[in-house]
Symmetry: C2
Subunit: 218 residues, 2 copies
Amino acid sequence: MTISEENYIKVIYHLSQVSPKGVTTNAIAGTLDTKASSVTDMLKKLADKNWVSYQKYQGVSLTESGLLKAKMVVRKHRLWEVFLVEKLGFAWDEVHDIAEELEHIQSDALIGRLDEFLGYPSFDPHGDPIPNAKGEMVKEERILLSEAQRNHTYRFIGVKDSSPGFLQYLDKQKIALGAPIELLEIEPFDHSICIRINEQELVLSQKIADNLYVLKHV
Amino acid sequence: MTISEENYIKVIYHLSQVSPKGVTTNAIAGTLDTKASSVTDMLKKLADKNWVSYQKYQGVSLTESGLLKAKMVVRKHRLWEVFLVEKLGFAWDEVHDIAEELEHIQSDALIGRLDEFLGYPSFDPHGDPIPNAKGEMVKEERILLSEAQRNHTYRFIGVKDSSPGFLQYLDKQKIALGAPIELLEIEPFDHSICIRINEQELVLSQKIADNLYVLKHV
DNA sequence: AAAAATATTTAGGCAAAACTAAAAATAGTT
DNA sequence: AACTATTTTTAGTTTTGCCTAAATATTTTT
């Protein structure tokens, strides 16, 4: 499997999470920053190799073997991110691009030993679950903070947007993974919210609340 | 710099150690397992980018910037080997191919932090010196065991051949890096030698002795 | 020094993965 | 249902890094 093929499979996997009935050519092109015609070419190749099922003009979805391939790439990406943060001391906003390269190293022995070295982590530094060697991962009952209810308390467990800009904003506001968040107020006009975190009150815009995953109960 | 370009530069660097007056097209082709015509193509490209000086039919040598590039690839390769052995518990005969992939990850920050994490090692698991960020590395007064003198004691500090087969042979004979070796006898007929190592006597063929680096004094 | 052997380069092609431009299919709108 | 807009595919190119086969240099042998 080439690096390019792995990247396509991974992107199709991520886009499938949002639109499970089929991923469009344009969506893939947009994510990978290529042209739609290039995507069509690659989809044919991936279909030939039985990693996606693809009908002209109807979008694609991963086959069983494609899904496993995708999960293995995601597994590698997230394990490397844990390594970069936990062992090398990188900040959570610095690791994505490096992991993007490391995820393509081909060695099952390597990734198995890395997993062991890291203590078999279940989540990466952004709160995303790490598939095990079989592709299984924990599934949490998480919601977006923008969908949460007034006067309830949640736990901040992940980000939807993991771009450096957003992560740096969270650092600045001292909003860290695992923190309890109490939803104090929802402003009807602009959907901004007021929360209590670290014993302080904080106002977050809808856009921010829309990118924070919280645990439903407690 | 592409992966292919890095591999060429690295191979030219290694071959230069043996033949400093110029590396031949065929030597490169042999090492990289490609055809001479492919090498010629690449040499032109590398010359255009000023990483090698190349005269038709006269072989190549690295320019100053090419030499630094090569040392940085070697640095990455050897640091990753240390990581694989020291941190992930791989054996010294298992790490070459994985490091061959890892050496192409592009991130100065990564390699700097990896170096720090490993405690700024000076040698890789095979006893080869690791260049620092400037390309400097320690130079030892080492010789081959086949060039050593009778009744002198040496220290085993490196291997010339680092193929898995040879390394496994050394493991089997309990010949480990750092061990003192006393040269007891040189057999004139086949140049095999008798040594004392780990309080035991051992006979080594010329081929073995020809691939072991030892420290000259003590 | 000429002939033979070897090494290297040139010329022409191929496959992967991207591109542009044009054609075809689908979706949306009146 | 027809027209328009959008999406997707096809067709034809480009670039990178490799290949084979043929031509040219260099080296070795006689």
